[in-house]
């Protein structure tokens, strides 16, 4: 169906050829993601935190037993992956910057001119970033886990665990899943707030500060509120032995994903409605 217009254009490009598709926008966002120096650097930092600092903290912990000679107060898997709490800062910030960086530089106008339907840009950004984080953080978690267990097993009371132990594989791979969702929350907030400082403040206000404030709640309220905070709900996945005060591991994670989906949907609505 070639729509022959009356324009005497010498530049007749077959329309079907240049059609904007979700796949092409994905490719575009993939190019964008890897052609900024900040992306590989930040992801490398997250990787180094998980593996390097994870190894260090495991070693320090194992080599300094407490007065009673115990080291296994923390499960070996959780210990070797504990640095996810720090790595989430890098992942969350990068998630915000993936989109707020386009607003601060004016790039967003070029992006939305190329894809005026707009939503494919948001989906592609979220998918490309989440995919990259998931792959890298899965690798980081698995490596940190095995190095950590190797260290722990060299101490008599180190408390090393095996991947096949109940709940361990869930925690190892769940760590990468948790970090991926933190990244998606960042992307959604970046799209909603459009300003890096604001979006980062909200992201870590919710993830890190809200749980710390839960002590201020009346004791009778806390059990009805705290487990449902995004970080606590998602964190339920990361206990080898499920915490009775937290949500069930996969239910908790599903709730965290739900928060990200709601925020992304809100970001989509606003992206479609607001002027760029």
């Amino acid at each position: 169906m070639s729509t022959a217009t009356a324009t005497p254009s010498t530049a007749s490009v077959p329309t079907a050829k240049g059609k904007v598709t979700q796949l092409r926008v994905l490719n575009s966002e993939w190019i964008k993601l890897r052609t900024l120096r900040s992306t590989p650097i930040t992801l490398a930092v997250a990787f180094a935190i998980m593996v390097g600092l994870g190894t260090l903290i495991t070693y320090v912990h194992a080599s300094h037993p407490d007065h009673h000679g115990h080291t296994e107060l923390i499960n070996g898997a959780e210990l070797s992956l504990a640095m996810y709490r720090l790595a989430q800062l890098a992942i969350g910030v990068l998630g915000v910057l993936v989109i707020s960086g386009e607003y601060s530089t004016g790039m967003i106008r070029a992006s939305l001119s190329a894809v005026p339907k707009r939503l494919p840009v948001l989906w592609a950004k979220a998918a490309v970033f989440a995919g990259s984080v998931l792959v890298l953080m899965t690798a980081a978690s698995v490596i940190a886990f095995y190095i950590g267990q190797a260290i722990l097993s060299s101490y008599p009371a180190g408390g090393a665990v095996k991947m096949s132990d109940p709940g361990v594989a869930r925690v190892v791979f769940g760590t990468a899943l948790y970090l991926t969702v933190v990244g998606l929350l960042g992307v959604a907030l970046g799209a909603l707030i459009r300003n890096a400082a604001g979006a980062i403040a909200i992201l870590f206000g919710v993830l890190l500060v809200l749980p710390a404030l839960s002590d201020l709640l009346p004791a009778s309220w806390a059990p009805h509120v705290v487990p449902y905070l995004p970080s606590e709900a998602g964190g339920a996945l990361l206990n080898v032995v499920p915490d009775p005060t937290a949500m069930a591991p996969w239910n908790g994670f599903a709730l965290m994903v739900g928060y990200a989906v709601v925020l992304l949907a809100a970001a989509a609505v606003m992206l479609k409605r607001r002027d760029a």
Binding site: P8, S9, V13, A16, G18, G106, R109, L112
Partner: protein, 308 residues
Amino acid sequence: MIVASNLTKRYGEKTAVDDLSFTIKPGIVTGFLGPNGAGKSTTMRMIMGLDMPTSGSVTVNGRPYAEHPAPLHEVGALLEAKAIHTGRTARNHLLALAATTGIGARRVDEVIDLVGLHEVARKRAGGFSLGMGQRLGIASALLGDPATIILDEPVNGLDPEGILWIRNLLKGLASEGRTVFVSSHLMSEMALTAEHLIVVGRGRLIADTSVEEFTRSASRNLVRVRSPHAEKLRSLLLGPDVTVDSSEPGTLEVTGLDSDRIGTIAAKHSVTLFELAPQQASLEEAFMELTRDAVEYHASTTTAGSVA
């Protein structure tokens, strides 16, 4: 072809674009002229679907821009210099934009050469000068070889060589049958580049006319003549529709005759001319006259005795 009908954009109390209707035809360069804050950029953003009109509508090649399946092949736009991530190289920026519509690296390198950014294509755009940013913006506008090209103040920041280059580029694009819509706040620039003019002030349409017509109605057809035989020349030039003034000895200001006629008459009577200058400045004056009431931001003119 760009068609705006009753296009209106309000930001709260402020009306940026007020009931604007116009048609931009293919095959010529159309200038979009108005003082700062007249609503030119807002109008162009609405054409590109970046801002939603409060009311009214605008179509490009028969449809709203966002409804084209291959938008970069329909319209190429430079809306502001440096609509680019500062951390990305020029080439990667273009590759990312090109990828959305399936354009490959070959075309990207082609437009890079076309705008003369070959040397810096692999440098990060954060270090680009305003002029280089403009060239990069023009490269991205040309990526899809579009039939319609929209440029917002493209000569800003360009050196004289760059200005000449863009003038010729625009004329060339129009002669290929494309629709070329270029905004500027400089009448003199538009007089050299454009064939048709849309003049706006405070968001309203002031004039929709050909440059030729605008120039004719605007300029007072004043020609400045300097001659050692000024008085002899004056009597030779005077006629029913011709007035000759003189502000200083040896200088005449002639209206009613163009410079060609004056030069011919002078030659025929062997009158030496030192200077024969059509007064082009009147064009800029006419534009200012036209938009005086519509200028958004007046510089406060401090005259002697009135110090704020």
